[in-house]
Symmetry: C2
Subunit: 254 residues, 2 copies
DNA sequence: CAAGCCAAGTTCTCTAGACAGGTAAAGTGC
DNA sequence: GCACTTTACCTGTCTAGAGAACTTGGCTTG
């Protein structure tokens, strides 16, 4: 039963990949450890270099190892942040069931904002539709990147209708305590409702080097739309997350 | 500016990949179309076959093309389903801001359940912690797969504490109208609160062939924990989603 | 002792081929 | 016209080797 797939793998490169993979899972190699080099694996298994490389490329595209040119192939670690979609987590009573991947999470580390850029732009197609304005209408864009231990883990671009935010502190590099939502509220446009849409795919070349992603790491695309109480859209926030750095959490009632 | 990466790409395989990628983005090749074969690209660019293959492997791992042995390399389509985390979407008033990727979504197609298996098992470590029972304690597992147009797009495994569901319709292959949650409610364990935790990574070999994923497709792992009003955990549902088949949506109030 | 250089070791790129195995269309026979 | 076979084409696997690019640690030099 089960058929297998896990079992043998008749192909040479699959057998080599399988052997390394199970060695890693067994803990023979820990995160950060270096695997045997291509030359070692060649002589060890008696195969050509390209065959060894194909085996390693399997593991790389599975995201469990990472090659550093000139140095070797290393086992990757998975130490994600937890991102809570719904902040008001006052519900102490749900504490009974523990979080699923809690063991992996290290919440003591902190995110720092990297390079804030606030610019006025013309709304392109997609932003215009979501924001409910004409394509080409003036919007303000607020772009920034978040670093964790110096490594970028997310880049984000918020868009606001120009009329709503002109002259407000929303457009300052540092919007102050409470962030842009607090400033929007002061301007009479308090967000009352949010929609987040998520999808996942492999990164484009540009995304990969902006987040410094090794190959084998997907990205998560989140678009958050913020509505005021009367249904006006006040912000569209496009985020690109390093999938290996995040666990997302949403809580809601039946 | 922005430096480039998009620009040249001095390496041969990068240039070939770049050329094909931009041809696809320009619409020269539409979803389902066949790209020039390896032999064509060899003579066209005057390079060895392995070089062409490396170029194509870039596009494959980006998830934008898919190779079928003996047939050729084809441009992949992206036609996801929309999965709403919070069902009570009565909020007509938010309709102003349109959904972000709505153009891609085709909601007329329908999911069908594939192979339901209900078995009694001993809770292993992770399930036990979340469910709040001892490891090895009896639990009921309900596994199934969802197909869209015959293609598997999700596999799911729900776990219930044995004491709560023994003898109820929760364990029937077809739990009837309203699904297992309706049956849980009838048994006096109505779910009142949910937590969903998401993460994303490249699939293992087993996941890849259960969902028949071409390489370059990540999976989304969702664990939903269902709580009753008094905080008891009644279900832990582990889902594995084909990332190319889903857009996830969560709505909530400030 | 510090700074810079150098060499060994490593992965990455690329070549030129050979055979295996799957696909799909053309052709053949009934 | 239908079913079957053949055949051309295509991607997958693998070999053997060479040079480029990069990292690291040891060595030399000031």
């Amino acid at each position: 039963m089960g058929s297998g797939h896990g079992a043998a793998g008749k192909l040479k490169y699959q057998r080599i990949a399988e052997e390394l993979r199970s060695a890693i899972e067994a803990g023979e190699y820990e995160p950060g450890d270096r695997l045997p080099g291509e030359n070692d694996l060649m002589t060890l298994h008696g195969v050509a270099r390209m065959t060894v490389r194909q085996a390693l490329s399997v593991l790389r595209s599975e995201g469990i190892v990472e090659a550093r040119k000139g140095a070797g192939v290393f086992v990757r670690a998975f130490r994600p942040l937890r991102r809570r979609g719904i902040q008001r987590l006052a519900s102490e009573r749900w504490a009974a069931g523990r979080s699923v991947w809690s063991a992996d999470v290290d919440d003591r580390r902190e995110l720092v904002v990297d390079g804030v850029q606030v610019t006025q732009e013309e709304a392109h197609e997609r932003i215009a539709t979501v924001l409910g304005v004409e394509p080409g209408a003036p919007v303000w864009a607020r772009r920034r990147r978040y670093l964790l231990d110096g490594k970028p883990v997310m880049s984000a671009a918020s868009h606001f209708p120009a009329g709503l935010v002109a002259g407000t502190a929303v457009l300052l590099p540092d919007p102050g305590p409470g962030g842009v939502y607090a400033r929007l509220a002061e301007a009479g446009h308090a967000p009352a409702h949010f929609r987040e849409e998520l999808r996942t795919r492999m990164p484009s070349a540009g995304e990969a080097d902006e987040l410094r992603l090794p190959s084998g790491t997907p990205v998560i695309l989140i678009t958050r739309t913020a509505f005021t109480a009367d249904g006006t859209v006040v912000e569209v926030n496009d985020m690109v997350l390093d999938a290996a750095s995040y666990i997302l959490e949403y809580e809601f009632d039946a």
